[in-house]
Structure formats: structure tokens, C-alpha cells
């Protein structure tokens, strides 16, 4: 903590027992709930994204296949990336509402017993 002239300083957390919170079942519950969404979502988007340069780079013939009029597979796959990214972001925000609730309980409990 440094001596900065700010109207409001960092919350008073000097008495907080971080280890006790970290070991609590509520916190472990929060972490596993988060991981259950974030890890698969991350892996999915990374695989889906890198499939694009890989396919375009190594299978340009296949990706040049025309689908509708002159629109080819390469363009449609690239365009789909935008909508998939938006969809993942939307699902994450929905899931994160649940994380917020769990985190709020942990903060409230820490406020009562932590200091």
C-alpha cells in the first residue's frame, strides 16, 4: 500500500484470511464452476479459430469450393468466426452472472468473519 492522496483507498482487507477463503468449499465451488465453462470455451475457440488459417493455408482447393453463387467456403468459414466469437461471448456473459452470485456470497462471508 503506498501513500497516495486518494479519496478512497483499497478496501480494508488487512485482516482477511486469504488461505481460509481459498480453502473454503464456496470458493472451490466458484473455481470449479468457472473452469467448467472457461476451459472448454477457450479450447473450442482456439481450435475453431486455428482451423481457419490451417485449412486456408493447406487446403486452398477445398476452401475455394463455391457454395452460393461466387461465395466460397473460405469466406463463409471466415465469416462464421465472427458469429461464433459473439456466441461464445454471449454464453460467457450468461455464465458469468452465476460466477458473480457465488463471488458475492464469498465476499459477504469474508466481511462477516474475515476481520
Amino acid at each position: 500500500m503506498n501513500a497516495m492522496p486518494q479519496p478512497i483507498q483499497r478496501n480494508e482487507t488487512s485482516g482477511t484470511d486469504w488461505d481460509r477463503i481459498a480453502e473454503s468449499s464456496e470458493f472451490k465451488d466458484l473455481m470449479s464452476t468457472k473452469k467448467m465453462f472457461i476451459v472448454p470455451a477457450f479450447i473450442f475457440f482456439v481450435v475453431y479459430y486455428f482451423a481457419l488459417p490451417a485449412l486456408v493455408g493447406y487446403a486452398p482447393g477445398l476452401m475455394s469450393t463455391k457454395v452460393i453463387g461466387n461465395v466460397n467456403l473460405a469466406y463463409l468459414f471466415a465469416l462464421s468466426q465472427f458469429f461464433v466469437a459473439w456466441l461464445i461471448a454471449y454464453l460467457y456473459v450468461k455464465a458469468a452472472g452465476g460466477f458473480d452470485k457465488l463471488a458475492k456470497d464469498i465476499i459477504e462471508k469474508a466481511g462477516k468473519g474475515g476481520k
Binding site: I21, M31, V56, S64, A78, Q81, A89
Partner: protein, 535 residues
């Protein structure tokens, strides 16, 4: 006075007014560095978009698509998808556990002085390199757009440089934020109008538009007429190394965006992690919509204006303004030019504030003075001086290099350093208990050196130029490249991680491990996080 100049001056007047307004509200570190953490989620989302979408993406992408078709559109995809890493991995923990810079999160459980010194160095490298690329581009562009008003490259660089210094020195983060918001709105509006005009040109038959893309006609280097389907991949990234370069570029974008200091500092301007999350989503909506519309900008320029005409009227970067001129005349050309100018200013202002914040907060206060501000306001004063120095250096280097300098690689370098040095240590410090100071310092060093080293021996700096290429436009080393890829990410990112992991195992730091739980709880719950300043 020419129409473009009038529009440029209009934008300058509005932004200086904002800077004056913000200067009254920038007293104190939190107000100056983080706009008092009072920026609303949607506002910050628009500002992130304004901070991120550079002239390289507005003018550069339109140009690459206009000349190399589909491969250029792949940049557009990566630039949006990268925000999923920001959203899922970085934004919220950073907002919860940090204060003004990315180094705050590292300093929590590691020894603050060595990690802050290295993180600050890395921030300065990323920000100044990126800035020099923007400044050289800005000077060349503004000179071209305002040729009729007699503005030269030097005048343009000095003008852009002085404006960014004024925004940051006097208006701090608050002024920077609003410059970015206005720029983003202008950019989205201009791009939307341009897209509608392109569609109107084809009678709103999207099929006809794509048919035209299927047969873009131009003359090749030998003067022969070429008709090409610009939707076909491979016009830019050719075998044998093209596909690998494409993947390497993707890695730098996907993992680098979440390590760009000027983007990360934006998340400290909002009240809490939930608002940071909302702002990433707003940014993704804007950034995604913009990059989808590069379809109309780029392919529109290819089909309506044509590569031949663009080549003889200012080159690739003029594709979007020339498209505007072809579709709606000189006033619209001036409007799109002014948007390009606003785009550059908002980005360089963001870079300046992130560099000066890191210097003042990480290096001056925490490394030199061990975390103590000797008198109130010192940190902000140092940041203001640093902003001035960074700006002056960027102006001088840009002028020395000149308008034709070979600087495009600096953007690739900035992303590579962010992905290879910054991201690994941020992620490992949040998620890996065993991680320690030696690991952080070695990860940052290896990532930084690997990125710079590989770019030095890449085709960006090593190539044999024909004698017609002169001065700073020539490649630095006149010999065949040793490393075949323009983007080092595919090698430098793993090296950054290996550096961090090996360094960690070479030493033991019980205090870093014992404070892991604190950082874990803080970053995941927001307990004890920095609060908004009440006015």
C-alpha cells in the same frame, strides 16, 4: 482552405475542448491514470474499440484486401477473435487485482522491483514501437490527404505528435477515453456509410457484388491484363512458408491482444470486473461489426476503384479514401480522411498514456522509490513528463525515418512481444502457484528477446532490395532472411512460456507461493479491489 483540412480542424477543435474539460477532472493518480474508474461499461467498450482499431486496420486492411483479396480478410477475423482471450482469461482478473498497469498483477505475489522493471521495459518497447509505426504511417497519410493544403510529412508528424501529447499531458485518461469514443463512433459511422454505398453501387444485389469480386481486373508488373477471383485464398500467403506464417500471425493476434498494455489499462477505468466484462462485450460487437464491413471496404475498393487506379493515386493505404471519392465525391473523401486522422490520433494517445503510466507507476514510484510517492502528485507529474518525452521521441524517430521507411514490421513486433513476453507471465502469475520472480523476469526477457531477434532475421528486415529502393525504405540487412516467417509468434510464444517455466524451476520463492491464495481469491472474487473515486 480545402474540405479535408476544415474537417481535420473541426475534429481537433472538439478534442481540444474535451481535453480542457478533462483537465479540470484529472487531479490525483486515480483520476489521471484511470479516469477515476468511473467510465461506464458501454463507454469503455466503445473506447476499447477506438483504442484498438488503428489506421493499420482501417486503411491497411482495406488496402490489403483491395490488392490481395481474401487473405487480407483473415487479419480481420483474427483481430476480433483475439478478444475472446481478453474476455475469458485476462480482463476480469486484471481489473480485480490491479491498479494502473499490468505489472500490478505480477507485483502482487512476486518481488515487485525486478518484475516491475522488466514489465515496464516490455510495455515501453511495445508501446513505442507500435507508436513509431503509427506515426510514420500517420505522417505519410496526412501529408497525402492534405497535399492540397501544403502540409508536408514533417508538419503532419509534428502536428499528430503535439496533439497526442496535449491530450495525454493535460487531459490524462479521461480525455484519452473520450477522444477514443468519438473516434470509434466516427469510424463505425463512416464505415457503415461506405458499406451501404458499396452495396448501393451494386443495386443492393449482394450476389452481384460477389460476382464482381470473382473477376477483379488489373495489370500485373509486366503490364499484362489479369483477371482474378479475389475470394480465392493464397494471393498473399503463398507456399512454402505462407500457411505457416498465417498460423504464426494468428497466434500473435490471439495471444498478443490480451497482452497489449494500452488495451489492458482500459480495464482499470471502470468501477469493477463485471463492468470490465461488459465493456469487452461492447468492444467485441463494435470491432466485429467493423471487421465484417472490411468486406465492403476492401473488396469494394478492388471492384469499384481497382488496384491499377489505387496504385497510381497514393498506393494501398489510400484504398478506402479513394473508394469514398469514387462513390460520393470530394466531401465524402474529406470525411473519410478526417476519420482516418481521428483513428490515428486516438490510438497514439492510448499508446502514450499506457507508456507514461507504466514509466511513472512501475518504474519511477515502485522500482526507484520502492512504492512510496514522496509528495502528493509526484506520480502524475512524472507521468506527464514521460508522456512528453515519449511523444517527442516518437516524433523525432518518425521524422528521421521519413515517409517511405520500412516500418510495417513494428506492428507485428508489438503483437509478438505482447504475446510472447507479457501474456505468458500474466497468465502464469494468475494461474500457477509455483510461479516466481525469476520465472517472470526470465519469461519477459526471453519473450522480448526472442521476438526482437526473430524479427531481425526475418524477411521484414532481411531481404535483398532492387537498387530502385533507397534510404530507410531499404531492408536493414541486404541478404536472404534466416528465419522464413514475417511473424515470429509460432516460435517466440512457446519460447516465452518455456523461459518463464524454466526460470521458475531454477529457483524457489516460498513467499510467492504463500501469497498465491491471496491473488487467486482477489482476482476471482474482486474482494478488496480498487474502487471508483467518489466525486
Amino acid at each position: 482552405m480545402s474540405t479535408p483540412l476544415v474537417m481535420f480542424l473541426g475534429f481537433i477543435a472538439v478534442t481540444l475542448g474535451i481535453t480542457y474539460w478533462a483537465s479540470k477532472r484529472s487531479a490525483g493518480s486515480s483520476a489521471y491514470f484511470a479516469a477515476g474508474r468511473q467510465i461506464k461499461g458501454w463507454q469503455n467498450g466503445i473506447a476499447v474499440a477506438g483504442d484498438y482499431m488503428s489506421a493499420a486496420s482501417f486503411l491497411g486492411i482495406a488496402g490489403i484486401i483491395a490488392f490481395q483479396g481474401y487473405d487480407g480478410f483473415l487479419f480481420s477475423v483474427g483481430w476480433l477473435v483475439a478478444y475472446l482471450t481478453v474476455l475469458l482469461v485476462v480482463a476480469e482478473p486484471l481489473r480485480n487485482a490491479g491498479k494502473y498497469t499490468m505489472a500490478d498483477v505480477l507485483a502482487y505475489r512476486l518481488r515487485p522491483r525486478p518484475v516491475r522493471a522488466m514489465a515496464s521495459l516490455s510495455t515501453l518497447v511495445v508501446s513505442t514501437f507500435y507508436m513509431i509505426a503509427q506515426m510514420v504511417g500517420a505522417g505519410a497519410l496526412v501529408a497525402l490527404l492534405l497535399k492540397s493544403s501544403g502540409i508536408t510529412f514533417q508538419t503532419a508528424v509534428i502536428g499528430v505528435g503535439i496533439l497526442m501529447i496535449v491530450y495525454v499531458v493535460f487531459g490524462g485518461m479521461l480525455a484519452t477515453t473520450w477522444v477514443q469514443i468519438i473516434k470509434a463512433i466516427l469510424l463505425m459511422g463512416g464505415t457503415f456509410l461506405l458499406s451501404i454505398l458499396v452495396l448501393a453501387h451494386f443495386g443492393f444485389h449482394i450476389g452481384q457484388f460477389f460476382n464482381a469480386i470473382g473477376a477483379v481486373t488489373y495489370h500485373d508488373a509486366k503490364g499484362a491484363v489479369v483477371v482474378k477471383d479475389f475470394l480465392t485464398p493464397g494471393l498473399r500467403y503463398k507456399p512454402p512458408y505462407g500457411p505457416l506464417d498465417l498460423i504464426s500471425l494468428g497466434m500473435a493476434l490471439i495471444f498478443g491482444t490480451a497482452g497489449l498494455p494500452h488495451i489492458l489499462v482500459r480495464f482499470y477505468t471502470v468501477p469493477d470486473a463485471k463492468t470490465a466484462r461488459i465493456s469487452v462485450v461492447w468492444a467485441m460487437v463494435l470491432i466485429g461489426s467493423f471487421y465484417i464491413m472490411t468486406t465492403f471496404l476492401g473488396f469494394g475498393a478492388a471492384t469499384i476503384v481497382g488496384p491499377d487506379f489505387i496504385k497510381t493515386h497514393g498506393g494501398t493505404n489510400m484504398s478506402a479514401p479513394l473508394l469514398a471519392q469514387a462513390l460520393a465525391g470530394d466531401v465524402f473523401f474529406a470525411f473519410i480522411s478526417a476519420i482516418a486522422f481521428a483513428t490515428i490520433l486516438a490510438v497514439v494517445a492510448g499508446l502514450t498514456i499506457s507508456a507514461s503510466t507504466s514509466f511513472a507507476h512501475d518504474f519511477w514510484t515502485n522500482v526507484i522509490h520502492r512504492g512510496v510517492e514522496r509528495k502528493p502528485g509526484e506520480e502524475v507529474l512524472v507521468a506527464r513528463i514521460a508522456a512528453f518525452v515519449v511523444g517527442a521521441v516518437a516524433i523525432s524517430v518518425a521524422i528521421l525515418l521519413g515517409p517511405t521507411a520500412n516500418v510495417a514490421f513494428l506492428v507485428a513486433l508489438a503483437f509478438a512481444v505482447a504475446a510472447s513476453a507479457n501474456l505468458p507471465v500474466i497468465v502464469l502469475s494468475i494461474f500457477w502457484k509455483r510461479f516466481n520472480t525469476v520465472g517472470a523476469v526470465s519469461g519477459l526477457s526471453v519473450g522480448l528477446l526472442a521476438s526482437i531477434g526473430l524479427i531481425m532475421i526475418s524477411p521484414s528486415l532481411m531481404a535483398i532490395d532492387p537498387p530502385t529502393v533507397v534510404g530507410t525504405a531499404r531492408h536493414l540487412f541486404q541478404r536472404p532472411a534466416i528465419f522464413p516467417l514475417e511473424n515470429p509468434g509460432i516460435l517466440s510464444i512457446p519460447l516465452g512460456f518455456i523461459g518463464a517455466i524454466v526460470g521458475t524451476f531454477l529457483s524457489s520463492e516460498p513467499s510467492a507461493e504463500s501469497k498465491f491464495n491471496e491473488l487467486l481469491v482477489r482476482s476471482n472474487t474482486g474482494l478488496g479491489s480498487e474502487k471508483a473515486v467518489a466525486h
